[in-house]
Subunit: 253 residues, 3 copies
């Protein structure tokens, strides 16, 4: 840090198993990746290439190499997995993971219907090849999953071999964990945390108010995801009680 | 594309007469233009220098040269045309178009009152000098233009020599084609499309939900505009059914 | 300017005492600073490193040098002052200002309780070391300060040695001067302006609608702050009546 302040909460350092920040890259240029890493590299644990943006961005191989040289793992968004799966191209997906040297992959069912047994089978298969993140929750506003089912699904997917489970939100932050207003489903999150260890979950929290909410509930070292590259510095100050929103939270009275 | 997926809708390629993406540059630096073009050049058909930003940005000549070298046409926002016109400086505007080597220009009346005969006369005049885009619709929330009049104006302006007509929205996407909530005026758009060929219209659709709406209504190759540079990759995935919002749209059941 | 338009309001030039634009840098990389300055340097009078972002950004010294070479003063956000003060580290803060060669500092009480006498004393102390900006208004939505008190505080703080007083908003623009909807507290602003000279106040106005509102009320040369780097060009066009929102405002009828 650039100077010393007392009473700053302990923050985990890399490589983190807890206190992870997952950043979403939705089509950055190589230079924009470098710019983001200049300030954000120490605070970024893993990068997702949002949904299927990797299909259309012409700089994919160079970008993967750039993140690799910075020591930051990268994975393709779950929507890409779903796009292959729904087309009966799961084997192609596995080949592509190898072709691009991917070490992580996401399994999700945000845009498709998938039985949980099948999802767990796919997790098991992919876990022989890469480190798997699995995502629970739908992108469909109309599909409300009750808390007991979130817990059951998260547990099954972790047992099937997922490294972390992700609590689904959308880039805009308005489904899954969140009401259409962007407000967090508080009871849902609290109930999940009674059953699943906090370090096994990455909460998608693209909006500042959501990041604040999770830091207040879980602490400085909550795992959060879908963070925009230009918001990583802000998130770090929120974690440390150095932005207005969490200013009081870590101070002893 | 970086890998093969089945059942991806056909997408037109450059030079496109249909499936155009018009991007709004509201003051990018030269390096930011290069960054945007690294991922967006193949998907960007024309760039607008938003409203009168070209008046205050010091890098104008260099920027025009940069877009030119990438083969992407550029035009000044319609508000600049209106700023000259309302000051009785239309002839100055014509000179400036030549001075900066512009090959496209927009004629609009979003912030001023202008009889349609006069507007068509100006389109005719400018069309002898450049390729003209004309814009229909007011920036004033209180001015509701009924569908039959949108159609009449679009037809007149195309007949006067406009290459494309633009359906007005604002950068924030809340007037003209849209309700103050950002919601599309669906009946208006559908009625326009019964009378004016879709390839002649560029729909301003700065918000993701609006882009999704137009892709679902018109198809992957709808012409849309006022796209932010950093959203061009996202738009391309929406066109191809590779973002959650249009994921099902192009899949055969 | 790139070309000549009649009836453009007079705009002050650097070094400005009036018509100031204060920009918030919330963690830019060095190259992003250069990009912002390419178009924004002439229109940016002072830069704030937002809240305590300077604690976590690794490029702090280089960034300060970069702004210095562009002739643009920089100061740490008021939340950082408060973070030091609340920890009993005010003397450390003074040392750090010297260590980093800061020539400006902000005194605020947006996130803490502070008697106005103490605040004025701190302003007096810091004013012997740097040029002080002091901020009035709380970040807490529940704390409504009545107009007479805003005026009294602003006057006291200017008398204590503040160069300018800042009317508080948050980055998102929804407390202090603004209702939770983002709407300006019009009566409050008008009453303040009857008592405090407009050139002594910097109004935080991060949202476009707020910038438009202040330009219409005070004029092209209103002091505004918390402007995002990528919005400086837009703000300049709003000041000059060259964006739709203020298009009519400076035209003689």
């Amino acid at each position: 840090m650039n100077y010393h302040l007392n009473q700053i909460p302990d923050r985990t350092t890399k490589p983190r198993q807890k206190g992870l920040t997952m950043v979403m890259d939705k089509g950055l240029s190589l230079r924009q990746v470098e710019d983001f890493l200049e300030t954000g590299a120490d605070y970024t644990d893993i990068v997702k290439l949002g949904w299927a943006t990797s299909y259309v961005t012409p700089n994919l191989k160079e970008k993967l190499a750039l993140y690799k040289s910075a020591g930051i793992p990268v994975y393709f968004g779950g929507t890409l997995f779903e796009a292959f799966y729904i087309r009966g191209q799961f084997d192609d997906y596995r080949r592509i993971l190898d072709e691009f040297g991917m070490e992580y992959a996401e399994v999700s069912d945000g845009s498709i219907e998938m039985e949980s047994d099948i999802k767990c089978e796919l997790i098991r298969t992919l876990a022989t090849q890469v480190t798997v993140l699995s995502e629970v929750g739908s992108k469909d506003e109309a599909k409300i999953i009750p808390p007991y089912k979130w817990i059951k699904l998260m547990r099954m997917e972790l047992e099937a071999g997922a490294w972390k489970v992700i609590g689904e939100a959308r880039e805009g932050g308005n489904v899954g964990l969140f009401r259409s207003s962007g407000e967090v489903r508080q009871g849902l999150v609290e109930e999940i945390l009674t059953e699943i260890p906090e370090e096994k979950i990455i909460w998608e929290a693209p909006q500042k108010s959501q990041q604040v909410w999770f830091v207040k509930l879980v602490g400085a070292n909550v795992n959060v995801g879908n963070i925009a590259p230009q918001e990583v510095v802000s998130l770090e100050t929120i974690r440390l009680g150095l932005r207005g929103d969490t200013f009081d939270h870590f101070l002893t009275k």
